[in-house]
Amino acid sequence: MNSMTTTDILWHRVATVQDIPENGGACALIDGKQIAIYNFTRRGEWYATDNLCPHRQQMILSRGMIGDMQGEPKVACPFHKKTFSLKSGACLSGDNYEIKTYPIKVEDGLIYVGLNV
């Protein structure tokens, strides 16, 4: 895996654009950590979050459906349909959970996810 450093986050190259389904997600393993990557084609946006749904501690969010609530991009956990903002990680379905979001960028068809050093 190639890595590039900027100030305090380390960018990890994880996949090519074609690897992630349109308007869907996939899971990348970065240094043993599971990160969900979403290709929100409809909005032309990319997001990265924890793959772990905090509700029942399941590694699953990358397999969830994405969409929006009042314009806020979100992912729905396949297990019990808890939904989380892809931007802030806040739970949008009224529960007291939160997931982490990570910076993500696409350069020359390659996807990079930034993790804190």
Partner: protein, 833 residues
């Protein structure tokens, strides 16, 4: 800025809630909060303590993790009981020798289990039911026990009884009073509950006064005053609570004659800057042993400290709970003890339902009541009591519901509540506040929970909050249309027509033309189902709009693995195919189980192995069983006239024919069928969406039944018909269902909601009253003709196979997946929270 020190003694539910409320009100951060707890872990949910038996992970019950206290700058000091309060120095001292100074002290020490002084109570095997540590002791002792008894038939005692039952013990509940839950139920209510609990295997002993515990070092029997005896291996005492007031008493605070720290309406103790809240507080000679009044006390003190003037007044002790699956509620003046009160009662012994309403002497108001077995009306009745609402003309409707066919009691009643009616008592949210929140644009339950916190405690008010949302919108003149979600202003039926007429095949196209926004987890699978029902193309062409199971053509299970169900039409399978299933299961180390639908489920397949597993199954002649889809599952059959000496028709052959015809067809919800070879009905066909039962002359067709949470028998649709007619009727009903039902609606609910019900359905299908039969049959034939095995398509298509990956950048297996051995196979590790 000057800060003031608030010290909270006790980190239980109420102590925690106080911190939460104070933080919310104290926006300028005037207060420096310190919390001192005796138990080793942060506050946890004691109301749901019995869940610990099925999920022995304490984090599951935690109110907020340690990080929450850190994030909110609360100093949390656990595992160290407070030993002394010195009101003159405004200091407290802990067992470990720590000293904390305070400006305001809040005592929230709660209560301990009350243990009666019965001889022998010190023996091994006798426990109380109060903390997680108590539960750990009970769990470990239960491993070597067979028979357990709970002393105390109150609310908590019955909870403890359920826990013993869950631990696999023969369970007895012993109560001193002549009835169960003596504070909440009358004799008939208790009898109803007792019958129900006994049918579940709990033995109830009333009027029993335990005189001593027998046994050497460990308890072996309970000896009662009436000379009877009960042999036991362990005992749980749940005979009430006693307030934890020792430290307060030593500090010279006023204590009630039977315990409890005396407080005024501001919840101040005899020392003005020391408050007591929750189960340790004695307010107007009353100890409140429920969480809702405790939360209200927390609210009052938080309000007072931040300059408010709230006070605590007598709190309603009404309660509703599910005890071992039985709804029990008791509200207001449950026993009708007010002068001149009369009652209306309804009792249905066989169903285990008892309802009692107490009416005021002037016959104008409900003053209280009891519900056992069915407590659906609890919220509304409680509101009527609390708000002194005027009784309707026929008050019996309140407990019986509006009667007569096709009538539903509906949710309109909620709008008659006054604005100050408290709908969510855990968070003290009024109807007025909820309606305002809806008017401000919070039009779904998620948004309401977020902005008002209503429904986030026990959750009991959620149905009522939903009704309020609906009715408020209606009152605003907003048309309450059955719309899919915020992205489509159409019902499923309307959207299906639009898709068909417009020849639309792609979700994005449909969203662009008929919807708005970017879609969500509600409309995506609904549209996917519509597309499958109209065009029947390979669903994985648009995999990211499919619901979890459809996306990977398998059933998502705990831990993130999938289960695999090959089709075994009619439940008939050759020895060769059985061997293949066995070999595949062995090779991939899968857990195997016979399903309720007469087929075999293979559990524990990680997503990347699904195509390999299916390749072997497809090569052996298996097809997808669509166990993952909202579509036909199985056609269950009994062996019928070919082998059975009672059978009158060949039910297996017909079941296979039916299953092969409808397999793979997507519908608004799952569809199950059954075919029985004679009236003995061994296939249980009347519990299915379509049930076919052989007669001497042909077949009887039953429709729209289901099992599940609300079982409903299928209704007889046609008698003594031949196979062709039977198939024709199923074609028509199923297609009519596919085109008109709301998403995720089973056929039973669809028919229940249909105006005119079964008679109307018969007119449409048998008399062709809508003139659409020719079209319905054509549409059904298209679906039958375009059947394809989804798994065969995937196995043979490298592009589709690629989507079955655990990681996009690694071939590693998911290291987080954990299994445990179970009997001779395995199971996933339980949820860890």
């Amino acid at each position: 800025m000057n800060t003031e020190k608030v010290v909270v003694v006790g980190n239980g539910m109420v102590g925690y809630k106080f911190c939460e409320k104070l933080l919310k009100k104290d926006s300028s951060r005037t207060f420096e909060i310190t919390v001192i707890g005796e138990e080793p872990r942060p506050a946890y949910d004691r109301v749901h303590l019995s869940e610990y038996f099925t999920n022995p992970n304490p984090d599951h019950l935690t109110m907020a993790p340690v990080e929450w206290y850190i994030d909110n700058s609360i100093a949390l000091h656990l595992g160290d009981p407070v030993q002394k309060i010195d009101p003159s120095k405004k200091c407290i001292y802990t067992l470990q020798g720590k000293t904390f100074a305070y400006d305001h002290l809040v005592i929230a020490t709660g209560s301990a289990a009350f243990v009666p002084t019965i001889p022998g109570v010190e023996k091994d095997g006798i426990f109380v039911y109060r903390t997680i540590e108590d539960l750990d002791l009970i769990i470990s002792y239960a491993k070597k026990s067979k028979i357990g008894a709970v002393i105390g038939g109150g609310l908590l005692g019955l909870e403890a009884g359920k826990a013993l039952m869950d631990l696999g013990l023969e369970t007895h509940v012993v109560e001193f009073a002549p009835r169960l839950m003596p504070r909440q139920l009358d004799d008939t209510g208790s009898e109803t509950l007792q019958t129900k609990l006994e049918s579940l295997g709990i033995k109830i002993h009333l009027n029993k006064n335990t005189s001593f515990f027998d046994g050497a070092a460990s308890v072996t029997a309970l000896q009662f005053a009436d000379n009877s005896r009960l042999e036991v291996d362990m005992v749980v005492i749940s005979a009430g609570i006693k307030p934890r007031d020792e430290v307060a008493a030593k500090a010279g605070l006023e204590i009630g004659p039977r315990g409890g720290i005396v407080v005024n309406d501001a919840l101040q103790t005899s020392q003005q800057n020391i408050y007591a809240i929750g189960e340790c507080a004695l307010h107007r000679s009353m100890i409140y042993g429920l969480v809702a009044p405790g939360y209200e006390m927390a609210e009052v003190v938080a309000d007072r400290l931040t300059g408010g003037q709230k006070s605590f007044s007598a709190f309603d002790m009404s309660t509703k709970l599910k005890l071992i699956g039985v709804d029990v509620a008791s509200f207001g003046d449950a026993f009708g003890s007010a002068e001149g009160a009369t009652k209306i009662c309804f009792e249905h012994k066989e169903k285990g339902i008892y309802k009692r309403l107490n009416i005021s002497a002037d016959k104008k108001h409900v003053i209280g009541g009891i519900l056992v077995g069915d407590a659906e009306q609890y919220n509304m009745l409680l509101q009527m009591v609390n708000n002194k609402m005027v009784l309707p003309e026929h008050p019996e409707d309140l407990i019986l519901g509006a009667r007569g066919e096709g009538k539903s009691s509906g949710g309109a009643g909620v709008m008659q509540l006054p604005d100050e009616a408290v709908v969510c008592s855990c968070e003290s949210v009024t109807k007025g506040a909820l309606c305002l929140a809806v008017e401000e644009g919070n039009t779904d339950i998620g948004a309401i929970k977020k902005c008002t916190k209503a429904g986030t405690g026990c959750g009991g008010c959620v149905p009522m909050v939903n009704d309020l949302i609906k009715e408020t919108l209606k009152a605003q003149g907003k048309v309450i249309k059955n719309v899919l979600c915020e992205h489509f202003d159409y019902s499923r039926q309307e959207l299906l027509d639009l898709v068909k007429v417009g020849g639309l095949k792609k979700y994005d196209e449909i969203l662009n033309q008929h919807g708005k926004g970017d879609g969500c987890e509600i409309c995506k699978p609904a549209v996917a189902s519509i597309l499958a029902s109209v065009w029947n193309e390979v669903i994985l062409k648009q995999d990211t709009i499919q619901d979890s199971n459809d996306r990977y053509l398998a059933n998502l299970q705990k831990g993130g693995t999938y289960s695999v169900v090959p089709r075994i039409a009619g439940g008939e399978i050759t020895p060769e195919k059985l061997i293949v299933i066995g070999e595949v299961a062995k090779k991939y180390n899968l857990y195997t189980k016979i399903t309720g639908g007469q087929r075999i489920d293979l559990f524990g397949a990680p997503v990347h192995l699904l195509p390999d597993i299916w390749e072997e199954l497809v090569n052996a002649g298996f097809e997808s069983g669509h166990a993952y889809g909202k579509s036909l599952r199985t056609v269950k059959s009994c062996v019928g006239s070919t082998w059975c000496r009672f059978g009158v028709q060949d039910s297996v052959s017909f079941a296979i024919r039916v299953e092969d015809r409808y397999k793979g067809i997507r519908s608004p919800h799952k569809v199950k069928m059954g075919v029985s070879g004679c009236v003995r009905e061994c296939a249980e066909a009347q519990a299915k969406d379509f049930g076919i039962i052989a007669t001497e002359k042909g077949w009887n067709l039953y429709v729209c039944g289901n099992g599940g949470a609300k079982p409903q028998h299928a209704l007889l649709f046609a008698q003594d018909i031949d196979e062709e007619t039977c198939i024709r009727y199923i074609d028509l009903i199923m297609m009519f269902y596919i085109k008109t039902a709301e998403p995720l609606t089973r056929t039973a609910t669809w028919l229940n909601k249909m105006e005119g019900g079964l008679d109307y359905l018969k007119q449409v299908v048998i008399q062709d009253s809508l003139g659409i039969n020719e079209q319905l049959l054509r549409e059904m034939q298209l679906l039958v003709d375009t059947y394809h095995c989804e798994w065969k398509e995937v196995v043979e298509n490298p592009e589709l196979r690629k989507r079955f990956k655990t990681f996009v950048n690694s071939t590693d297996s998911d290291a987080e997946m954990a299994f445990e051995p179970m009997r001779e196979m395995k199971k996933p590790s339980n949820w860890t929270v």
